[in-house]
């Protein structure tokens, strides 16, 4: 719009937007705030700053519970499944983007459709399979599952990024005497790197927050943060402040990553149906 809105209108919209924004963000804000209160104050006072600030909860959670184990599990599982998915997904997306055939379209749609499978549909066999092969409650097992669960999105996103690379540039490389290895190493990868990074970003976020397989296929050893937090659903004694501290630490990494990944979110989760 070329015309400037009047200051009055701008004030109105700004107040409304900020008001609603703060309201929506409030639960997160409150959680972070509560993590600095004592347990007694956490349940009693709805104070915004007039309380005794303390870091005790953070020390309690990190020292008295296996927090770091679960944090490490989350990291390993998210990064592991992301790397594996990229390893498998990059060649597939490369082939579909640069050597499409009549079947490519169907293939891509089929891959996306596997994401639509409700996890409950395969809960039983997977649980039994994992139990019988010793993969239950292992990081390896979870990495494998999450790789497959997110592979369709990874392939899809890489595909869209690769398609944006003009095919002629790769042809030029070929004419310039590059064999396949050189083509991929010197031309494709540098141009595809931003797209690959974006895909990894989104995948790490999705894997970190995954809350079905991580809850059902793990126990004390391999449980990531999603499951660890879930253990606060049947707590003993006062726990609000500790829950806040644990939650804040659990969501902080992905909240920060998420702020950078809005565009990737749209691209990855709407499967291109919205531009």
């Amino acid at each position: 719009m070329a015309r400037e809105a009047t200051v009055g209108t701008k004030i109105l919209w700004t107040s409304l937007a900020w008001g609603i924004g703060l309201l929506i963000f409030f639960p997160i804000f409150w959680t972070i705030l509560t993590s600095f209160k004592s347990e007694a104050e956490a349940v009693s006072s709805p104070a915004l700053w007039d309380f005794d600030w303390t870091l005790a909860n953070y020390t309690t959670v990190t020292e008295r519970s296996p927090y770091f184990l679960h944090f490490t599990n989350s990291v390993v599982i998210s990064l592991g499944s992301t790397l594996l998915a990229i390893l498998i997904g990059v060649p597939a997306a490369w082939a579909m983007a640069f050597s499409p055939t009549r079947k490519t379209r169907g293939l891509l749609l089929w891959m996306l459709s596997t994401k639509m499978l409700p996890p409950v549909g395969v809960l039983v066999p997977l649980y039994l399979l994992f139990r019988d092969t010793g993969l239950l409650d292992t990081r390896t097992g979870l990495v494998l599952v999450l790789t497959l669960v997110n592979l369709p999105i990874v392939v899809w996103m890489l595909f869209t990024y690769f398609r944006e690379i003009p095919g002629e540039i790769l042809e030029a490389a070929r004419m310039d005497g590059a064999n396949l290895k050189s083509e991929i190493l010197h031309v494709l990868t540098p141009m595809a790197l931003p797209g690959i990074a974006s895909t990894m970003l989104l995948n790490v976020i999705l894997a970190w927050n995954e809350a079905f397989w991580t809850l059902n296929l793990t126990a004390a050893k391999a449980a990531p943060l999603t499951a660890f937090i879930a253990s606060y659903s049947s707590p003993e004694g006062l726990f609000y402040a500790k829950l806040s501290a644990a939650s804040t630490m659990a969501i902080a990494p992905v909240l920060i990553l998420g702020w950078f990944s809005q565009k990737q979110l749209v691209r990855g989760l709407t499967f291109g149906a919205v531009k």
Binding site: R102, P166, E168, I169, E171, A172, A173, R174, M175, D176, G177, A178, N179, S182, H186, V187, P190, M191
Partner: protein
């Protein structure tokens, strides 16, 4: 060194034969232009020569060597793409050096060659910039530079000037023509612009739906088009084509007369008509005339010719320049 021979080359995409068996010989050092309307197969033919597409049948020879099954990297050809296809993450220097790096040349030799190309093409000023920071014409030069350093046996150009504005296009046309003079290497050039074709080519190949309509020098095509298609394609504005009685009088199905071969007068002529639109270009004037009994024709007049909209003028075709075509569209020579 750079002769290209196509024998019975065909190309099929799925079940559609876009190029029926085609024979063509390009001589070493020639500047050959493939020209034709969209979809005529000129780009496809170029890509077949480059090796970016496989032929569905027939053979391709470079300097007598059968290259039909060879990948592009081994054919010794260089291509300049329509979109220039420069590597966006590399500087101009690295772009031009890339083919040499692929060939395994040592760094000192590479630098020497790159500097040489930069001097020839006047790129030294921006040799360390990236393609994104360059204008269209500059990118064009880098693309040519990248092709030159390889010292290929032939250059392939795929509509390289289509993305440039008119003024730049004129300049680049000259530069490419000069390049051909100095390098004396075979050049195969694809364009849909017949002015580029006419001004740059030693020989022109006119393509229509995958079939070669005619091969010849620009003047040959202009003076003796072998078919209606070529007659209507070469020459701007296009040749006036008339059917019916006027053609029958000459013993043909269709006759053609170019706008520049109509003698005009404010008085009478063999034909008579009313001017509907007159386009003044300064040096020439193009008149669109509604000729009695024959329909609309275009005529070229000297810039000083005084006819305006609504005037009645006389037109007389030069009988020596009248073209006759039979019912199948082929030129009648007798």
């Amino acid at each position: 060194m750079g002769s290209i021979t196509l024998k019975g080359v065909t190309k099929r995409f799925d079940d559609v034969e876009v190029i029926p068996p085609l024979d063509l010989t390009i001589r070493d050092g020639e500047f050959v232009v493939f020209v034709g309307p969209s979809g005529c197969g000129k780009s496809t033919l170029l890509r077949l020569i480059a090796g970016l597409e496989d032929v569905s049948g027939g053979t391709m020879e470079l300097d007598g060597r059968d290259v039909t099954a060879l990948p592009p990297a081994r054919r010794g050809l260089a291509m300049v793409f329509q979109s220039y296809a420069l590597y966006p993450h590399m500087s101009v220097r690295k772009n031009i050096a890339f083919p040499l790096k692929m060939a395994g040349m040592d760094q000192a030799a590479i630098d020497a060659k790159v500097d040489g190309a930069a001097k020839v093409l006047n790129l030294a000023d921006y040799i360390d910039r990236r393609p994104g920071q360059l204008s269209g014409g500059q990118r064009q030069r880098v693309a040519i530079g990248r092709a030159i350093v390889r010292e290929p046996s032939a250059f392939l150009f795929d509509e390289p000037l289509s993305n440039l504005d008119a003024a730049l296009r004129g300049n680049m046309r000259l530069e490419i023509a000069e390049l051909h003079q100095s390098l004396a290497t075979t050049m195969v050039y694809v364009t849909h612009d017949q002015i580029e074709a006419m001004t740059m080519a030693d020989r022109i190949v006119v393509l229509n739906k995958g079939v070669i309509e005619q091969v010849g020098s620009p003047l040959e095509l202009y003076r003796s088009p072998k078919s209606l298609f070529v007659a209507g394609f070469i020459g701007s504005p296009t040749m006036n084509l008339l059917t019916g009685d006027a053609a029958a009088k000459q013993g043909a199905h269709t006759i053609g007369i170019r706008p520049e071969h109509l003698a005009l007068s404010m008085d009478a002529g063999e034909w008579s008509g009313v001017v509907t639109v007159s386009e003044h270009l300064g040096s020439d004037t193009f008149l669109h005339v509604n000729v009695d009994g024959l329909g609309t024709m275009t005529a070229r007049a000297d810039g000083e010719f005084p006819a305006r909209h609504g005037d009645r003028i006389g037109l007389t075709p030069d009988p020596a320049r009248l073209h006759r075509f039979d019912a199948a569209g082929a030129a009648m020579t007798a």
